[in-house]
């Protein structure tokens, strides 16, 4: 028995806690001494709309005929105080994204796509460009803490005004647009020197709380002769109280952005560890509106991780009046498209994972101010793709609504939903599938 016995070895095993990505981040931080900044929203696994299912009609419910019976999708926003509410053909809007973070071609494409299907786009931190006003039939003008490019002429040109208190990727945080993206035009619009890293404030310069915000909204209404709907956008953190205070401050419409919502640039630690998921935010927000008797009177737009018609339908069923998309809209334009795989590899990443939007080197020409890269995006073709995508979202939403027997997508309701997990059941306030158990319902 002199034969050498080969002892089997276990395969290499990575720690679930110190997984390869975590190890690489430790090495990166050790080498640079600075936190990681990136674009996009949370990438971690979160309880989300995938954890919900629609029940559909059966013996006790009567469905509508697909492709035959009408299922409405229109939504009116700003019915509380504004003389000129906004009428959208579909309950899906384009979220605020700035010229600066996005190229002019991308902004134009967003406007073209949204206008083709009868919905709105939204400006961002950096003012209103002629391209987006010209190509967006319905344009929401963001009123941000930095007030870059803010002026009364553009305010009057807008169809609605969105006072941004926060966003889901970074509730309580400001922004940082790195110098590579501060082109002469961006610098001029923001009254800043070219090429410097531009910081965006995290709080407004002339109001500090809901009582002040009420007066600020009154001023904006006075400047625009009470014509424009005033939205208030909040990042999801304490939705019940934030929504109640926004109503108190006089909002016509409230935008609630969950932590899956994207940003042009923020610290990774902020994106992944501050705020709550979209799924967890909707019910408390709707509850606040219902407790105040303002549900459907002050409209609620939900954003953060909307990817398909099922997500839209679930958000509406939980009580939203509309949803807003950002990341999905950029992907529809061409962001992270495998067509540019070799370019992504040269940047040390792969198509689908690219998130260094702040560096301005986007191969798809969307999150950049580099004129050569920006030229890669054909705004007409990209706009068509966005319109197609929005149409698909709408058709999918209608498909689900008809299956639940609804003649308008707003007739979807929590009763149409069940949850696959205990967590999702608790967050969404719907029963765990196959049971009548809603965790935490007794405390609501």
């Amino acid at each position: 028995m002199n034969e050498q016995v080969k002892i089997p070895r276990t395969t290499p095993r990575f720690s679930a806690t110190f997984d390869p990505h975590t190890l690489s981040e430790i090495r990166r931080a050790a080498a640079t001494g600075i936190y990681d900044i990136r674009g996009g929203g949370s990438k971690r696994h979160l309880p989300h709309f995938d954890d919900l299912l629609f029940l559909g009609a059966s013996m006790s419910r009567y469905p509508l005929e697909g492709y035959r019976e009408k299922c409405g999708t229109s939504v009116t926003l700003g019915t509380r105080f504004a003389k000129k509410p906004i009428e959208l053909k579909i309950p899906i809007t384009i979220a605020g994204m700035s010229f600066g973070s996005l190229s002019a071609q991308a902004k134009e494409a967003l406007g073209r796509g949204a206008s083709l299907v009868g919905t709105s786009t939204t400006t961002g931190d950096g003012g209103m460009t002629q391209e987006e006003r010209g190509h967006s039939n319905i344009l929401v003008y963001q009123y941000l803490p930095s007030r870059y490019g803010m002026n009364p002429d553009d305010l009057r040109k807008a169809d609605a005004i969105e006072v941004v208190v926060g966003q889901g990727a970074k509730p309580g945080g400001g922004g940082m647009l790195l110098g590579q993206k501060i082109s002469p035009r961006v610098a001029q619009m923001r009254t800043l020197p070219e090429g410097i890293d531009q910081r965006s404030s995290c709080r407004h310069p002339d109001w500090t709380g809901p009582d002040d915000l009420e007066i600020k909204i009154e001023e904006l209404r006075e400047i625009t002769d009470w014509e424009k709907p005033i939205y208030v956008k909040v990042g999801a953190s304490r939705p019940y109280y934030d929504i109640a205070l926004a109503v108190k401050a006089g909002a016509d419409v409230i935008v609630l952005d969950g932590m899956q919502g994207g940003t042009a640039a923020t610290q990774e630690v902020f994106i992944e560890h501050v705020g709550i998921p979209t799924l967890a935010a909707i019910r408390p927000a709707v509850q606040a509106l219902q407790d105040l008797g303002m549900h459907r009177k002050v409209q609620l737009i939900v954003s953060g991780g909307i990817r398909n018609g099922a997500d839209v339908a679930k958000a509406l069923a939980l009580g939203a009046d509309a949803v807003s998309i950002g990341t999905a809209a950029l992907v529809a334009l061409g962001d992270n498209d495998p067509h540019w795989e070799s370019d992504y590899e040269m940047l040390g990443t792969v198509a689908g994972a690219y998130d260094d939007w702040h560096e301005g080197r986007d191969p798809a020409g969307i999150t950049t101010q580099d004129p050569d890269l920006a030229k890669r995006l054909d705004p007409i073709g990209a706009g068509r793709r966005l319109a197609n995508f929005l149409s698909v979202l709408t058709l999918e939403t209608q498909t689900i609504a008809r299956a639940a027997g609804k003649s308008h997508v707003h007739n979807l309701e929590p009763e149409d939903l069940v949850a696959l997990t205990v967590e999702a059941a608790a967050m969404a306030g719907v029963p765990l599938a196959g049971t009548n158990w809603i965790p935490g319902a007794e405390k609501r």
């Binding site: 009364p152 020197p193 410097i196 109001w207 007066i215 001023e219 400047i223 002769d225 009470w226």
Partner: protein, 250 residues
């Protein structure tokens, strides 16, 4: 709405804009709608001093969003955001002003004869704001080109992230002056309690004295103070590019 035409003995163009609006009997909405309905370029020869606002009693958003070459005299104290986003108008306040006076102003003149509260001229892009008394904290916050002249003193965190324009203070300045400053020009005649991150004192040279003198002379204030008694503050520009070595500055 109680808008009184005053008896005029001049030509008819004068009478077109000779008004008194009493906020005891008219609403701010009526006042602002009247102002918004004025054409931006008033007819030649019009009497642009004729609009007088009575009994404001601290109400908000007085003369907000005006876009006309008209002079508005306000007899009393105003609340928040008086003259907000003003374009072209001259607004004279014979009293004190609340938070955000002249916020995001684009052009024109606001002159408050009393004191002003927080966030005077916040994010204002152009025009001039003059305060005969004191202004409170965050004076000139994120200013983007406006000229602000305060004859008294101003509070803490003033000129925070100020991007462009001129802030001249005849009196003293509170803590953290010019924190995270960009390219605004800051002149102070009195003491500065402390400077904010990236704000430093810079040499007051002849060109700066001349520039400040011109700003004051434009408003008829050149004789009130000796520009040689001001000190100048500006951005050290060390925070213009985010770098870990500067983390301690925040």
């Amino acid at each position: 709405m109680n808008i009184r035409s005053q008896t005029q003995t001049k030509d008819t163009a004068d009478t077109a804009f000779a008004r008194t609006i009493d906020l005891d009997t008219s609403s701010v909405r009526e006042l602002n709608q009247f102002l918004h309905d004025l054409p931006r370029a008033l007819p030649p020869g019009s009497n642009a001093t004729a609009l007088r606002v009575l009994n404001p009693r601290g109400v908000h958003a007085v003369a907000a969003g005006v876009d006309a070459d008209v002079t508005i005299e306000i007899a009393g104290d105003v609340g928040y955001y008086c003259g907000g986003m003003n374009q072209h108008a001259t607004i004279l306040i014979d009293g004190s002003a609340g938070i955000g006076l002249g916020e995001n102003m684009m052009s024109g003149l606001i002159h408050v004869r009393g004191n002003a509260s927080d966030s005077l001229g916040a994010t204002a892009h152009g025009g001039t704001i003059i305060v005969d008394g004191n202004a409170s904290g965050r004076c000139g916050i994120s200013m983007k080109g406006v000229d602000i002249i305060v004859k008294g003193s101003i509070g803490p965190m003033s000129a925070f992230m100020a991007q462009a324009g001129t802030l001249a203070v005849f009196g003293d300045v509170g803590e953290a002056f010019g924190d995270s400053l960009y390219e605004a020009q800051l002149y102070v005649r009195g003491s500065v309690a402390s400077l904010g991150a990236d704000c430093i004192e810079k040499p007051m040279e002849e060109a700066h004295r001349a520039a400040l003198y011109a700003k004051l002379a434009q408003q008829g204030l050149a004789g009130e103070v000796d520009v040689g008694t001001f000190r100048r503050y500006g951005s050290a520009r060390t925070l213009y590019h985010f770098h870990v070595d500067n983390a301690g500055a925040y």
